[in-house]
C-alpha cells in the first residue's frame, strides 16, 4: 500500500517538474509566436499590412477600426529608421524583440511634429551616432535596443469609413529602411 502512495507522489512530483519545464521552455520553440509570423510575411525592412483574418503568416487583427502593419528588422550591422506621415486621427507604434518583449512604444501625442521618425540602434551604434548626430536625425527619436533582431508594429485608427483611405495611405507610405551611419547629411533621408 505504501508503495502505491510513493509511486503516486513520485508521479505528481514528476508532473510538477514537467509542467515547469514545459512552461519555461515553450517560448523558444513553438514556431507560432508573433515574431515567426512577421518573418513569414516577407523581407526584412519592409512594412506589410495585417489583415482582419489570419493569413499564411498567422497574423491578424480583428479590430474593425484598427489598421496595422509590421516590419521585421535586424540592427546587428546598421540601425533602422522608421518614417511615416499623414493626416490620421491616431497612430501608435511598438517595437518588440525576437521574443516579443516590448522594447519601446509611443503614439502620436508624444511625436515631435505629428509624424513617425524613430531610429532604432544597438547601444554601440547609438554611442557612435550621438558623438556626431547627423542633421537629418535632429528631430528623430533614438531608441536603444540591446538585442539585434526584432519587429515593429505600426497601427492607425479609422473610426469612420471616410478615414479609411487616409489610414491605408499612412501605412502604405511608411518606411522601415536601414540607416547608414556616416552617410553625408541630406543624402539618404529625404522623406
Amino acid at each position: 500500500m505504501l508503495k502505491i502512495v510513493f509511486t503516486v507522489i513520485t508521479g505528481l512530483v514528476g508532473a510538477a517538474l514537467l509542467h515547469l519545464i514545459i512552461i519555461l521552455a515553450l517560448p523558444h520553440f513553438t514556431g507560432l509566436d508573433a515574431y515567426t509570423g512577421v518573418l513569414a510575411k516577407g523581407d526584412l525592412n519592409r512594412f506589410y499590412g495585417v489583415g482582419k483574418r489570419p493569413d499564411g503568416s498567422g497574423l491578424s487583427d480583428g479590430d474593425p477600426f484598427l489598421q496595422s502593419a509590421v516590419c521585421a528588422f535586424d540592427i546587428e550591422d546598421q540601425p533602422v529608421r522608421l518614417v511615416a506621415g499623414g493626416d490620421v486621427p491616431f497612430w501608435s507604434l511598438a517595437i518588440y524583440d525576437s521574443s516579443s518583449n516590448e522594447v519601446f512604444s509611443m503614439n502620436d501625442r508624444t511625436s515631435v511634429d505629428g509624424g513617425v521618425d524613430v531610429l532604432v540602434a544597438s547601444p554601440v551604434a547609438l554611442t557612435t551616432l550621438r558623438k556626431a548626430l547627423p542633421e537629418s536625425l535632429s528631430q528623430s527619436i533614438l531608441v536603444e535596443m540591446p538585442r539585434a533582431e526584432g519587429y515593429v508594429v505600426l497601427r492607425t485608427l479609422s473610426p469612420r469609413k471616410s478615414l479609411e483611405d487616409a489610414a491605408q495611405a499612412f501605412l502604405a507610405g511608411a518606411t522601415c529602411d536601414a540607416f547608414a551611419i556616416g552617410a553625408t547629411p541630406g543624402a539618404s533621408s529625404d522623406q
Binding site: G11, G14, I23, G62, R109, L157
Partner: protein
Amino acid sequence: MFRVPLYVALALIIAFGGGIATTLYALNASSGFGAIKLGAWEAFPRAQTADADPYAKSHRARAGKLLLGTAEGLKFTATQDDGGQPLRSSCRYRITGQTPPARLWTLYVADRGGNAPIARDGLPAGLNSWVIGRQPDSSFVISVAADAQSGNWLPLPGDDRAVTLALTLFDTPTAGSSGLIDLSMPQLQRIGCGHA
C-alpha cells in the same frame, strides 16, 4: 516480479499525463497572471513586456497575436456578463457607463478564440467612441443583440454561439495606473435570451 516495472510505469504515466494536461489547461485557461479585472472586463497590461510571468510568455508564444504596447493602448475582453453567465449571441445585453480615460476606444464582437466573427453584411462591424451617442452626463448605453435595437446597437451573429466582447482603449494611462480602485469599466448586463 512485475511489481517494480508496474510502479515505475504508474509513476511515469502520472508524471507525463499530469504534467502535460495541467500545462495545456493552464495555457488555455488564461493569458497568465497579472490581469486587471474591472467588473466583467479583463485585461493583461504587462503580457507583452519582458517582466511578464512565464505563463504569460508561454501563452503569447503559442497565440501569436500582435499585442498592444504600453503607450498604444489596453484591450479589455469580456467572456461573461456581470452576473457571471457566459456571453451567448442568442442573448441580448446592455453596456452602460463610462470607460476609463482614453483618447479613443473601439468595441467589437469576437468568437470564443478572440478572432473576429463573420461580420453581417451591411451592419456595423463594431462601435467606437467617435460614433456612439451619449447621455447628457456623457455616459453611454449600448444595446448588444442580434435584432436591431434603437440607440447605439452592436450586432451579434444570428446563431447561438459563445462570443467575446473586446473593448480596446487607445492612449490611456489605465495600464500603468496604481489607483485601480478609482477606475471603472462599463457595466455589462444581460437583458434576456431568445425571445423572452
